[in-house]
Amino acid sequence: MPGSVWRLFKVSLGAFALAASAATPGAEIGQLKSANGDVWIERSGARLPGTVGTRVRTADVVKTGADGSAGMVMVDNSLLSIGPNSVLSLDRLDYDATTQRGQFDSSLSKGSLSVVSGRIAKQSPDAMSVRTPSAILGVRGTEFVVGTDE
């Protein structure tokens, strides 16, 4: 039984939702699940408080202050979190729940980021990328950290 439970867990870890709407611009693509210290979201020029439960959208920029950190779950089950003094842009996340294919591109222009990749990264090496000012990461899976001080 533990074996089969584990198999079920692995099979379903990537399977996913909210996604019917994820392909349209500005659609909700994830949710803040943790927030400590100063966390805010820049959306179309407005500055919104980054509180736990806030849904994030395509083109949102998530920022933290000197004492801040924040974690989010995305529609394809990827997990992302940033440390203090960080700037993370959610440039693009398209995800089709039926085919389970999509594209997820984000940029860390400052600070630190940890990632556990989700369903999208399983499909091809180009499907998930993270940019920094000087490098591009092609994510094949699954867990890594990135820092940039450029």
Binding site: A19, A97, A135, G147
Partner: protein, 202 residues
């Protein structure tokens, strides 16, 4: 810093001694591949200009140097020192539960009913839970029938969770039909383990 400026700085640093240009101390991007919690194989390719380094083993890493990306081996202590706050903010992994169904119907099998309680205790553990309900069928019947049945099963579970108090706007239902068999079979095979609904609590 933008790419041309970074390149210029690297070029300057390459010809200067560190004592002349203390600012040359390694600004740039650091990446460390971590062990994957589920044991799945894992890799990240890091590209800078024409140079690409593929990190394929736990703690394989790159850091900035005067020559651009420098591969090295990191360790848990360094990762904790540099990335502790980010890692501490990582949300809990999604928890998965699987309910099984009576053939061709949207009724729970008897042993699945007690699992619903386990789902609820998982939901209670999370500060802002959201739930994804994914319906699956076996390979008896065509795609259209199975897609409809899969969604109907997912909706049944979703309705039941809402009835028991989970907020409706935090639960999505999806039907995957017979596209993702738990137990691979030929078409037209009745297989109870494929007639299931996965509940992901995130």
């Amino acid at each position: 810093m933008n790419e041309p400026a970074a390149r210029l700085r690297r070029a300057l640093c390459a010809v200067a001694t560190v004592s002349l240009l203390g600012a040359c101390a390694q600004k740039g991007t650091t990446v460390v591949l971590l062990p994957s919690q589920d044991g799945a194989s894992t890799a990240v390719a890091v590209k800078q200009g024409q140079k690409e380094v593929v990190l394929g083993q736990p703690y394989a890493a790159v850091r900035p140097s005067t020559q651009g990306l420098e591969p090295y081996k990191s360790n848990p202590q360094e990762v904790d020192a540099k990335f502790g706050p980010a890692l501490a903010a990582l949300p809990s992994r999604p928890a998965s539960f699987t309910l099984y169904f009576v053939e061709g119907k949207d009724e729970f099998s008897a042993e699945s009913k007690s699992l619903v309680d386990a789902v609820f205790s998982e939901i209670a553990k999370r500060p802002v839970p959201d739930v994804v309900v994914i319906g699956h069928t076996d390979t008896v019947g065509g795609d259209r029938t199975n897609d409809a049945l899969a969604l109907q099963r997912a909706e049944t579970v979703r309705a039941e969770l809402i009835r028991r108090g989970v907020a409706a706007d935090s639960i999505a239902a999806i039907g995957r039909g017979k596209r993702e068999l738990l137990v691979p079979t030929a078409d037209g095979v009745a297989e109870p383990r494929n007639r299931r609904v996965e509940i992901l609590v995130r």
